[in-house]
């Protein structure tokens, strides 16, 4: 059986592409780092891949809002390609800046006209960029294919604009995949457990198919045991909590 092909999208300001590629490679995928200009000029085509990832970074400096300029570019230049990609069963993963981009294109939570975006990501309540580790609980009801079998995770966040703000009317229909919690899994713990003030402690969401998933925490930054901040005192696990997201994605794509 042929290997799963994963495209990691690069744009000016992308900066988590290499470790994300490494995570997918470790999970058994063949990875290409592709610059957005290559997709636009068609030297590379989305249809040749099963998984597309928009990794973390500060694309175009996050000017006018995180992910805004790249979202604009994707929507106008690649909108049709992405639609076809997902119609054909492709998986899309957005991490951190990728979450911001997917929300601002309207690809998440679903393909709606941008003028009616129901959801956005905005400045953290602290007003600051913060890098810290967070406890996450996965929603068992979610259709998300990336988090199958995952109950809890401990992952780092590093962002200044990770606060999910949503029109209250859309919240009940949203497929929330991950919630910020405290160490015991309590969702009412507040800051800093919810590091940005996200409504309903939302850390990650999926679309209705479960195949488009985005999250603010960085699973690619915890794929080996010694990335854990306390491995010296708590012992080193072979794999970090985030690794399963990548193996899940590759496994799913393989079955296509």
């Amino acid at each position: 059986m042929s290997k799963v092909r994963t495209l990691i999208l690069r744009a000016p300001g992308t900066n988590c592409d290499e470790e994300t590629a490494f995570a997918f490679e470790q999970a058994g995928a063949v990875v290409s780092l592709v610059h957005i200009s290559q997709l636009i000029d068609r030297t590379k085509q989305l249809k040749d891949y099963q998984i597309m990832v928009i990794p973390g970074g500060f694309t175009y400096g996050d000017d006018m809002g995180a992910g805004k300029v790249l979202a604009n570019e994707i929507r106008l230049k690649l909108g049709r390609d992405i639609e076809r990609f997902t119609e054909n069963g492709g998986l899309i993963l957005g991490i951190c800046n990728g979450f911001q981009v997917l929300v601002k294109t309207g690809i998440l939570p679903g393909l709606l006209p941008t003028s009616k975006l129901p959801l956005t990501l905005t400045t953290n309540d602290s007003g600051r960029f913060e890098c810290r580790w967070v406890y996450l609980v996965a929603n068992r009801e979610s259709r998300c294919v990336f988090t199958r079998g995952i109950e809890r995770m401990y992952l780092p966040v590093a962002h200044g604009e990770g606060k999910v703000v949503a029109d209250p009317k859309v919240l009940p229909g949203l497929d929330v995949v991950l919630y910020y919690t405290d160490e015991q899994g309590n969702t009412k713990a507040g800051y800093p457990y919810n590091p940005n003030g996200s409504v309903a402690n939302i850390a990650g969401i999926s679309d209705a198919t479960g195949r488009i998933f985005a999250l603010m925490p960085h699973p690619e930054r915890f794929t080996r045991g010694s990335q854990h901040p306390r491995w010296q005192s708590e012992g080193t696990k072979e794999r970090g909590d985030g690794f399963r997201i990548f193996t899940n994605a590759v496994k799913w794509a393989k079955s296509l």
Binding site: R10, P12, G13, T14, N15, C16, E18, E19, F22, A23, H35, S37, Q38, G56, G57, F58, Y60, G61, D63, M64, G65, K68, V69, N72, E73, L76, K77, T114, S115, K116, L117, P118, T120, T122, T123, N124, D125, S126, G127, R128, F129, E130, C131, R132, W133, P156, A158, V165, D167, H218, E220, R221, T223, S226, Q227, P229, R230, Q232, S233, T236
Partner: protein, 953 residues
């Protein structure tokens, strides 16, 4: 022209505004209840209404959280609401707005073609009762920095016409100048009398006057910043003459140690060492002090940008993998009445520098894993901003490249503007009250995304071998970069081919502009097409601006006119050596009144909450220390991820266990007593941290970074000589070569006739290779019942200590270093770690044993019982306070499991060490004095609170 104002919907909290409310409170203005920040966009465009609407709706405003309105002109404050004040702040003309490029790009994506230019501004809506004076204080202390910004009062000329430039060759009448005229030329170009003398002779021989571009080139190339002329001077010091301090100390020790793993030392933009036989590591630390003093955000951001370009410009280009930053500021609670006129408050400098470094470093995707922040009032007008970067590159590309005649000169990255003109001479000069007013051109706001694109594309071009040599465009701009690259060959540069940000630059301005985010490449003609195409595909600019020759001359052209023609030999070897005088005499400081032994628990809490010792978490959290997925030991460690780690460890090659350790040693307080022991202590501290986290001395290299007072004063130069001598003496014994360094001299400030000099400050940065990162050790206590050992000898060395500082004294017994003994102990301790016998280890520095054990306990959320009675002492000491807070070097606290007691003691045999206590489950720190009495009994929660509070902003 349109003015679009974007603002948060009124029911949403404004996090930026809330931050400002807190800052305003810190100014003791308590009547402000709310601040809202609005983004203003000025568009120079002719748009249809539907286009304008789409642009606002789709691009400028967020549809969920924001609203907007459009206008065609500036409207001053709405007078209907008396409790609401509006302050609109815009960039000054000539300051490049970093957001402009992104907007123009996105607008084009939207299919709108007619947006010629964009400018951004901010509008602050401040609610509260304020006097005119209070509003002015808020605006000048928090909202506006006149160096780059102004308050928009009336009508706005958002898009002034660029002046046109008409070429006219300018010659300076040097040969006809005498007396005052000659001094005027010397002053204008910052030449010494001797320097101008040899320049005059050179041009006399050529029978012509120099052009302005020629004198500028010489001025830049011979500046302190570029050529380190003080370090290379002939210095008479007592009975001895030192011919080139650099070569007779820090460079000499490297030569003598002659380590085969040193791949490139003191010749490239950074020093390079072998990592694992396949990869190499390069390391550089730079200062960006003067620009950060006048514009903290932009100054510090461009500091990071600059040192990252040093790494990109090392060998045939390296990938930046770690940032480390060390700052020295005046205390953030400095009363405003102690602030000299024209100087920014240290709190503002601190916040601005932090933001500049974090914004730039985070955007580049480089983890900031390590650093330090120190405070002393003498840094008020001269803050120090050290930015360091480690790079990774293939070992076979680690040497500086060499171009051939015929290779093209390619300038790539950002465009050239009037930025930073005369930044080099600015950096080398003394600051005055007027500096802030005249130096605006020397500071700019960087654009990290331009640099990130450059990093990405350069590594691709490197791997395809499309260039033969690379260097960064830093201080002195093209004049230094190209001039240095072509030293052995010769070069022709066509200045009119340089791609400019705006029209109107004269040829010398293009030549010496210090616009950020630029690199220079030597490209073989057959590779140029592929290189230019690669750059275009990644959205980065590259332009051929000339070619290297074999003429051994620097030739500059502007529109076919020859505007400079200098011999390379004269440019690089013609500078006369400086002759300087140095003296040094040990100062006498008052000793503190030690009549009464103070309450040690209270003293410990006080020392923990001093600005130097307290937690820097507020800063560290705002750096991305996880990007690249390489960290093994993070800056914040322990049970709650908030204890102070000693050194950072990362695994730069993701599928390899090999690690890199980076640490910093700095203690300017010791320099007030003796710069020799300050330098020795800084080296020992940097090495201690490497050992503490589980490293060893087998492959450790050092960087020196001297920030000094005015070295034209003999006693300051004497201090420099002593510090440099210590660098030689220590590094020789530890066998840790220096691989690169930097200096920033003349850090003093003139205030109404009185000169305030910074404390002489030497930063030693160390980089070590660790073969097995699974042996890394963190500093938090791990398990109740474990034993606590001290390694090293404690002496009555409290001169310059935090304890004495808390008593208002400096003292005279500065901590010394016995490098032979220290090395032995360090090697043994490394062995113990390698054998897995060390559960936790923390090096002892500011605040001595007291601070170290408190930090270990609260980081591990465990208690400890420690006795001072069995401490190995180097001399009789009969006071608990002196033992507890002595800052003797080469000491560690080590946690060892009871089962490993014998093995650990066997490994450490014959070194100075002792078991002094135990880890307890009680969450109390108990310390027993030499008389057996309990002298400290404090909960770790209280200790931690004292340590966290001062900078928890």
């Amino acid at each position: 022209m349109y003015r679009v104002e974007v603002y948060l919907r009124s029911h949403l909290p404004d996090a930026r505004g809330q931050g400002l409310v807190r800052d305003i409170g810190d100014l003791r203005i308590t009547t402000v209840s709310d601040v809202r920040v609005r983004d203003i966009y000025w568009l120079d465009a002719a748009l249809r209404p539907d286009e304008l609407d789409m642009l606002c709706r789709r691009l400028l405003a967020d549809p969920v959280t924001q609203e907007y309105h459009c206008d065609t002109e500036f409207k001053s404050q709405d007078k209907t609401d008396p409790g609401l004040y509006s302050v609109e702040v815009a960039y000054n003309a000539g300051v490049t707005d970093p957001v402009e490029d992104s907007i123009k790009k996105a607008v084009l994506d939207l299919g709108i073609k007619d947006v010629r230019a964009v400018k951004t501004a901010k509008r602050y809506l401040i609610r509260g009762e304020l006097s005119k004076n209070e509003l002015e204080v808020i605006s000048s202390r928090l909202l506006v920095n006149p160096i780059i910004q102004h308050v928009v009062e009336h009508e706005v000329v958002a898009f002034p016409e660029s002046p046109r430039y008409h070429f006219k060759l300018k010659e300076i009448d040097l040969l006809g100048a005498e007396g005052a005229k000659l001094s005027e030329i010397a002053r204008q170009f910052s030449f010494t009398k001797d320097e101008l003398g040899v320049i005059t002779t050179y041009f006399k021989e050529g029978e012509r006057n120099p052009t302005d571009a020629e004198l500028e080139t010489l001025a830049q190339t011979w500046s302190e910043h570029c050529v380190h002329k003080t370090f290379k001077a002939r210095i008479s010091f007592g009975d001895t003459v030192i011919d080139n301090l650099l070569k007779s100390t820090v460079m000499k020790v490297t030569e003598e140690l002659d380590k085969p793993w040193c791949l490139s030392v003191f010749e490239d933009n950074a020093g390079v060492i072998d990592f694992d036989g396949r990869w190499a590591l390069c390391f550089k630390v730079e200062t960006h002090n003067h620009p950060s003093a006048v514009e903290p955000y932009g100054g510090a951001a461009t500091g990071i940008g600059g040192v990252v370009r040093d790494i990109m410009g090392t060998g045939l280009s390296a990938k930046p993998i770690l940032n480390t930053d060390v700052f020295c500021f005046a205390p953030p609670d400095l009363p405003y009445d102690r602030l000299p006129p024209g100087v920014l408050h240290p709190r503002r400098i601190f916040k601005g520098v932090r933001a500049g470094v974090a914004d730039y470093g985070n955007r580049l995707g480089i983890p900031t894993l390590n650093g330090a922040i120190l405070f002393d009032e003498r840094y008020t007008a001269n803050p120090l901003v050290y930015c360091g970067t480690v790079g990774l590159l293939p070992k076979n590309l680690s040497r500086q490249g060499q171009q051939k005649a015929g290779d093209l000169v390619v300038l790539c990255g950002g465009r050239t503007g009037r930025d930073g003109i005369h930044g080099v001479t600015f950096a080398s000069e003394q600051l005055t009250q007027e500096s802030t007013a005249v130096s605006y051109a020397s500071v700019q706001i960087g654009n990290p995304i331009v640099e990130k694109r450059l990093i990405d594309v350069l590594l691709k071009a490197r791997d395809r071998r499309l260039f033969t040599r690379i260097t960064d465009c830093g201080g002195g701009g093209l004049s230094s970069a190209v001039g240095e690259m072509a030293a052995e060959t010769g070069v022709r540069v066509y200045l009119d081919r340089v791609s400019l940000k705006y029209a109107g630059l004269s040829y010398p301005e293009i030549w010496i502009s210090e616009s950020q985010e630029r690199m220079v490449l030597a490209v073989p003609p057959e590779c140029s097409e592929e290189l230019l195409a690669l750059f275009a595909s990644e959205g980065s600019e590259a332009t051929v601006i000339g070619e290297f020759t074999d003429e051994h001359r620097l030739k500059l052209f502007y529109q076919e006119n020859l505007v400079a023609d200098l011999s390379m030999e004269f440019l690089h070897q013609g500078r006369p050596q400086l002759e300087l005088e140095a003296t040094w005499q040990k100062p006498q400081h008052a000793e503190p009144d030690l009549a009464q032994q103070p309450d040690l628990a209270e003293t410990l809490l006080k020392v923990l909450s001093s600005f130097n010792v307290c937690s820097k978490e507020w800063v560290i959290r705002q750096y991305d220390h996880e990007v690249q997925g390489s960290s093994v030991l993070k800056p914040l460690v322990g049970r709650d991820n908030d204890g102070p780690g000693d050194a950072a460890i990362l695994r730069p090659v993701l599928d390899s266990e090999m690690g890199v350790i980076v640490s910093n040693g700095i203690n300017p307080k010791y320099g007030d007593i003796d710069p020799y022991w300050m330098a020795a202590s800084a080296i020992d501290e940097a090495l201690r941290q490497i050992i503490a986290v589980g490293g060893n001395l087998k492959r450790v290299a050092l960087l020196d970074n001297f920030s000094w007072g005015n070295t034209n004063r003999p006693h300051n130069l004497g201090a420099l000589v002593r510090a440099a001598q210590a660098c030689y003496d220590m590094a020789l014994v530890y066998e840790t070569p220096f691989i690169s360094g930097k200096d920033s001299l003349n850090n003093e400030f003139e205030l109404t006739g009185k000169t305030i000099s910074i404390p002489h400050t030497l930063l030693i940065s160390a980089i070590g290779v660790m073969s097995d990162t699974s042996r890394a050790v963190s500093m938090d206590l791990k398990k109740a019942g474990d034993l606590i050992y001290i390694v090293g000898t404690t002496q009555n060395e409290l001169g310059g200590s935090e304890y004495f500082r808390s008593l208002g004294s400096v003292g005279n017994n500065v901590p010394r270093v016995d490098p032979h003994q220290a090395k032995e102990a360090m090697e043994r301790l490394s062995l113990a770690t390698e054998q897995g016998l060390v559960r936790a280890c923390h090096d002892l520095s500011e605040g001595g044993i007291g601070v170290a054990i408190a930090e270990m306990a609260f980081a591990g959320r465990l208690g400890a019982v420690v006795s001072l009675k069995d401490m190995p002492l180097g001399e009789p000491m009969d006071r608990d306070d002196l033992i507890l807070f002595s800052e003797s070097n080469s000491r560690f606290l080590v946690e060892v499991a009871p089962n490993d007691k014998d093995k650990f003691e066997r490994v450490m045999d014959k070194t100075s060490f002792a078991s002094i206590g135990q880890v307890t489950p009680s969450e109390m720190l108990e310390i027993y004095g030499i008389g057996g009495r309990k002298v400290v009994g404090v909960s770790i929660a209280k200790l931690k609170e004292a340590w966290q509070k001062p900078l928890s902003w």
